[in-house]
Subunit: 445 residues, 2 copies
């Protein structure tokens, strides 16, 4: 993309309404625009990151054998009356009346609807196990929306639901989700720690939250420092293998890690003192096993091999897709702006032309643009007639992990400069070498 | 995907509520499930086609130089009060009150919001031309939703908006959209004819609708048969070239083609009688130029080169993404089921194992599955323990354009059967030849 043809409305001033760094940088980098309290437009740069995150979530869910579908944003109230949650949910549920005076709601979650889909179409144990998920906009009418997309009202979430014949199979689904989530977050450059959690309005005893450590997190968390040394890495997982998934879950749940809701001082005290940590954390996902809480009242039963009818065991598993943008920025920024991990960056590299209109730099930039594109990379070329300082400031603010700087002096020596956004380190090399280096870096992402 | 692990709830019976073939087949093929009047869940097969269509729309918009973003589903009523449409819109607008008693609405379209984004961030002619678009769920509270996704209440639409300094530039944007739409529909295997239309509540004199000829269409259309001979083909278009885009628009608008709203018997009568046609048509898109209708009342102005402030010229351009599934099926089916065009098929080919459990056919099917996947194709392998007739019926119903049939007799002779869904023609060949053939077919898509 050429910046002269893009829509990147960066702000020079810090917006006064933004209290935390991710909100501030998302506004300043022209990623979002507030349209109403807690409701945002995703401007082109923000939309691009949102799509990258969504794509990683899709890929990892499909890798785990889960099947995508899409439920609508609006739901009939009657479904929620069946589960008993229509009256329980309170004012955070946005209730709507249509022109025929029917009670509707903007879905805050989808346990009822997915159970309805299941019971309408599945009646035999032979069709189990089954895990369905979707990535869809949801609404919670927060009384005080704040922190930008971290606590918005209209938000994008992945929610998945497993249907299993028995407890053991459902626990395998739970474990499979934990494994796939560990992999998902790591691909986004995030360390998200699974912590034993309280269940809240979804129900169920078996539940973990995934928390990203950040000083602006809404939860207080307590953990054994050993857990931050764990890496998922490039291990290949057979998601059908119960023992393999269980072993990975054990690895990540053995060290103490809890939110304030489940924190136990006595157990925490048994950790060697030098490894005890407390911090703040941002919740970016949660997994639940809740058994037959929805299948029983809603009649989601299957006939077993011996001919009896039993309610299916279920769980639900969420990832806060839009919220992740905020969490990633909270975890990865400096005083100049965002620092995108390679896995989610909106563009793979920026190209800064130090002397727009100079035929040697213009040609070199165009060649770089073409060569990077030919390698499957998407560069953002700042081809505006601006001074170098303004171009650098924009690139630093929007946080592309790599920048190639092209100036007349370098070009006359056959060199461009490749700069790492995180470390600030620069290296001179030929254009071809810079393209090769970037292709190599992103090949592993 | 292996069918034994997929969620494809096909129905044997014709659902009584479905009046038209696309609705009937989408229900029977397990593509959608109604959750409330005019509100559908997209089951896995339907979701897959929806994503393919969405992807084609994105690719062609980006090719035309248009920039994607994403506006929220809910909008504040105040924006619509500025344009005057809040009171005009009537009962089709779903009006919502949030917990703080603020008036909101579920967006039926986005002229107001995109104008708000523009005026907040753009103030100079130097940032023009600009075309922004999104693909987002919308809601129209139809009094009698029907025909499945063809006339639903919650529907997915691509809507794009151009901002230009003057009339000529805005007309180029209009032409660019028409060209990109012609290409978009043709990639989906559809012939969608641009017809001069009436403007309706969006406003503006310059407008064309794109109609797919089908007996179940909601509009009566009149056209010169010459237009159905036009093909976009694989021509390469420079979307910046005004003359080139204009020439293509002229080519497609020269033959008479109008809906009943703009039909003129006198002009129609001048067409040679043997080329006069009347038919029904399904609207799958519409483009508008409406000048300063929104920019003036909402203050979307730019400063020109000579320092004056002028309202920008705008247009809006829509494609009915979810509705397209219905339109494609209406245009492409037979009495056994759907016939997907290669461009939008949910799976590239079906593999039918005639004797599940036979080691020779099982091995051959697994090898085919692996080889097709290695060529970037996505097969659907019917690995269920079902009789051949049921497997064929399912494949015919869900409409994959190609089927590979693997039976013990063929395998002993080193052959499989490749069948074209549309023609019904089958050809025996080696597995390797079938894979090569399919790779070749899809390479051109």
């Amino acid at each position: 993309m050429r910046l002269s043809r893009y829509f990147l409305p960066v702000l020079k001033e810090n917006p006064s309404e933004a209290q935390i760094v991710s909100h501030r940088y998302m506004l300043r980098a022209g990623m979002i625009k507030q349209q109403a309290a807690g409701i945002y437009s995703w401007l082109p740069l923000g939309f691009k990151v949102l799509k990258r995150i969504e794509q990683i979530v899709h890929e990892e869910q499909i890798r785990a054998g889960h099947i995508p579908l899409l439920m609508p944003t609006l739901q009939p109230a009657d479904l929620w009356r069946e589960s008993g949650r229509y009256d329980d949910y309170g004012e955070e549920m946005l209730r709507i009346t249509d022109r025929h005076k029917r009670d509707m709601l903007y879905g805050p979650t989808n346990e009822e609807m997915i159970t309805d889909i299941f019971r309408s179409h599945v009646s035999s144990y032979k069709d189990l196990p089954l895990t369905l998920y979707h990535i869809q906009w949801k609404f919670r009418d927060e009384i005080r929306p704040r922190f930008g997309v971290m606590r918005g009202r209209e938000f994008l979430m992945k929610d998945g639901y497993n249907f299993d014949l028995d407890y053991e199979s459902a626990i395998h689904a739970y474990n499979r989700h934990m494994v796939s989530y560990l992999r998902t977050y790591e691909r986004m450059g995030l360390q998200a720690i699974p912590m034993r959690a309280a269940s809240g309005p979804i129900g169920g005893d078996n539940t973990h939250e995934f928390l990203v450590l950040a000083s602006t997190g809404e939860s207080e968390v307590f953990y054994d420092a050993a857990i931050t040394d764990l890496k998922f890495g490039d291990r290949v997982v057979n998601y059908d293998d119960r023992a393999e998934c269980e072993a990975i879950v054990k690895e990540w749940t053995a060290p103490y890690a809890r939110t304030d809701e489940t924190h136990d001082e006595a157990v925490f005290g048994q950790i060697p003192e030098e490894r005890r940590r407390s911090s703040r954390g941002i919740e970016v996902g949660q997994i639940f096993y809740f058994g037959t809480k929805y299948s029983e009242p809603m009649g989601a039963n299957v006939v077993t091999a011996d001919g009896s009818r039993v309610p299916v065991h279920m769980g639900s598993h969420g990832i806060g897709v839009s919220r992740l943008l905020g969490a990633i920025i909270e975890a990865s920024h400096d005083d100049k702006g965002i620092i995108w991990p390679e896995g989610v960056t909106p563009f793979h590299a920026g190209i800064v032309n130090l002397k727009q209109g100079d035929s040697s730099t213009d040609l070199a930039c165009e060649a770089l643009y073409r060569d990077l594109s030919a390698r499957g990379l998407e560069p953002l070329y700042d081809d505006r007639d601006e001074r170098a300082g303004a171009k650098f400031a924009t690139m630093d603010l929007i946080g592309l992990p790599w920048r190639i700087t092209v100036g007349p002096r370098g070009i006359s020596a056959g060199k461009v400069e490749l700069t790492n956004r995180r470390t600030g380190e620069s290296e001179e090399m030929s254009s071809g070498a810079a393209v090769d280096r970037l292709a190599q870096i992103y090949a592993g992402i």
